[in-house]
């Protein structure tokens, strides 16, 4: 007996003219999962979402909702909910009418519509605003109306297309936490499209990273952060990354332009890159107990509040280091000073290069 998935995409291909927007995408999204699709603009993430919604027809492949092939089912019969990037709230209706729209289409009795709208307004914290016009609401409130409108019909899956894009940072951060809470409360599968990895990392159970219409990696936030499968994922995820390219000579050693470097033992042979997250690198003057120690010069120091970011040049290669737990009495290495940087081989990751 195979596991029942909320959404399955099998070998989906979508072309726009000569451009392949979605290139053989396969996805299985579990029941009640918060799943994010992320990638740079033009990577095909929105098109993939629209294919799930039925707003875009795939050229090849199969779309399944709850195990049922819906590839040829029109959008309005798919029982999905969608929150659009620019919200797409009906300007000629007030908050209540907007939210009740889907219920009316599904021919719910009047009293039940009222009750359901009241309930969902409570969940999105918009009680008392039923009679407001859409243009009388703030950006954050409109956001909640769009969410409520999509959720009130109890869709089998909720699709969100960069819904927080238009909000400013503070409200966005707040809405991220809120969204995750709402998802837990309503117990619905969420598919969330964004180019903002922070949003994806904050809320998702699993994330798929796309580039040029192809899925690069699917995994938990932790997996894709610490175990990226290629250099694209490594550099796309996280604030910064250090990659040292070279040749794996034998297990545990790599020949690089910085000399022979200790690297983790793995199956990977030949051309590869060592990935170092900025927080795993140590900085100091007399470093000990580390596998690799290199000499460099501080190029830039940026105080970022909870940490200090250093840019350090080692023989023409620039490293980014985040030093956390800095207290104001501690010495911050000034620009131009000579320092050592180092790391343990097990805190680095070997990534194959193709």
């Amino acid at each position: 007996m195979s596991e029942l998935y909320s959404v399955e995409l099998e070998n989906i291909v979508k072309r726009f003219g000569n451009v392949v927007a979605v290139d053989n995408v396969n996805l299985k999204i579990k029941e009640n999962e918060f799943f994010s699709l992320i990638g740079p603009s033009g990577c095909g993430k929105t098109t993939t979402l629209r294919i799930v919604a039925g707003l875009e027809e795939p050229d090849e492949g199969v779309v399944k909702l709850h195990g049922k092939d819906v590839t040829d089912v029109p959008t309005h019969k798919r029982n999905i909910g969608m929150v659009f990037q620019h919200l797409a709230l009906f300007p000629h209706m007030n908050v209540f009418e907007n939210i009740a729209f889907g219920l009316k289409m599904k021919k719910f009795p009047k009293e039940e519509i009222k009750r359901k709208v009241r309930e969902i307004l409570e969940i999105v914290k918009l009680e008392g605003l039923e009679m407001r016009r859409i243009n009388q609401l703030s950006g954050g409130q409109q956001q909640r109306v769009a969410l409520a409108r999509a959720l009130v019909i109890e869709p089998s899956v909720l699709l969100l297309d960069e819904p927080l894009g238009a909000l400013d940072l503070k409200i966005r951060q707040h809405m991220m936490v809120e969204l995750k809470n709402i998802q837990r409360k309503v117990e619905t599968t969420f598919i969330y499209v964004t180019h903002d990895q922070t949003e994806a990392m904050t809320m998702s159970d699993r994330i798929a990273i796309m580039k040029d219409g192809r899925i690069q990696q699917i995994g938990t936030p932790l997996q894709i952060y610490y175990r990226p499968v290629n250099t694209f994922v490594a550099s796309f995820i996280g604030e910064a990354v250090n990659l040292i390219e070279g040749d794996v000579k034998e297990d545990g050693f790599m020949e690089t332009r910085l000399g022979l470097v200790y690297c983790p033992e793995s199956e990977i042979k030949g051309k590869a890159a060592i990935m170092l997250r900025p927080e795993v690198l140590e900085i100091g003057n007399k470093l000990k107990d580390l596998d690799n120690i290199l000499n460099g010069v501080v190029q830039a120091v940026i105080f970022k509040g909870s940490y200090v970011e250093y840019r350090i040049e080692v023989e023409g290669t620039s490293f980014i280091i985040h030093k956390h737990g800095v207290t104001n009495t501690e010495k911050i290495y000034p620009v131009g000073s000579r320092v050592e940087i180092g790391w343990k081989r097990e805190s680095s990751l070997l990534i194959p290069l193709d």
Binding site: A53, M82, F84, A88, L89, F90, P91, M105, I153
Partner: protein, 294 residues
Amino acid sequence: MSRIEEVLRYIRRSRRLKISLLLAPPIIFLAIWFYAPFLILGLYSFNMINIYREIVFTPSLEHYTRVLSWTGAINIYLRSLYFAGLTVILCLLIGYPAAYYISFKMKKYKDVFIILFIIPFWVSFLLRTYAMMNLLDERGLLNTMLMSLGAINTPLKIMYTDVAVILVMVYDYLVMMVLPLYANLEKLDRTLLEAASTLGAGPIRTFIKVTLPLSMPGIMAGFLLVFIPAVGEFVVPELVGGPNNYMVGNIIYEIFMGARHWWIGSAFSMLFIAFILSLVIVYIRKIGERGLAL
């Protein structure tokens, strides 16, 4: 700073002055060519200009009461309303699907098709009407064609009937309906329709619940642009209508130019203007409000 610079600076800074400078030319133009004649019309209708064309202070409603006591006048008002109303409804029924199709269903050549609607407008209104007369005449193209095809034995009598008046008016004013509708539909955010479909609305209900209400401003604009000139139409009933198809414009012409009774003519015109104005106001209040409130 020179005196001129100072003046220019004052103009630049004063919002009110800037607005009045921009508004002055059209207002002065309208004042001379529309409001002044309109005022004179008003003076005539209240009997405040005598036969020597002098302004006199002998206001009376006698001309109004004479117009109102003439039952034929009401009939002519109603007929004008009927012709204009039918024209506007037919323009909407023909124009909306056309504008909708071009805006929503066509990907390329949208402009080409809109220009096809505009091209007849480049031909003089009179020429177009004469052309239609040739087509609809008893021995015109339409009848000749239908008869040679054997579809009919005796020529259709279209010219000098209601049908001819309506047909030519629809043809003449269609573009005034299509253009505002098209402009309005082009502006309509397509993701609203997608949103409706994700909420379970099929194409028909999406049209009724979203597209149609959101295109009300376009319908309103088209309605007014067709209705107002159509209700005052003068040339079309004169040329293609019979004596029973006279509209207000023709009667006014007859009273002024035929009977040369400027006083009755003025009263007749003023009453009609008041009548149409009140209709338009009711229309905007009732239907327009929702459309304009967007």
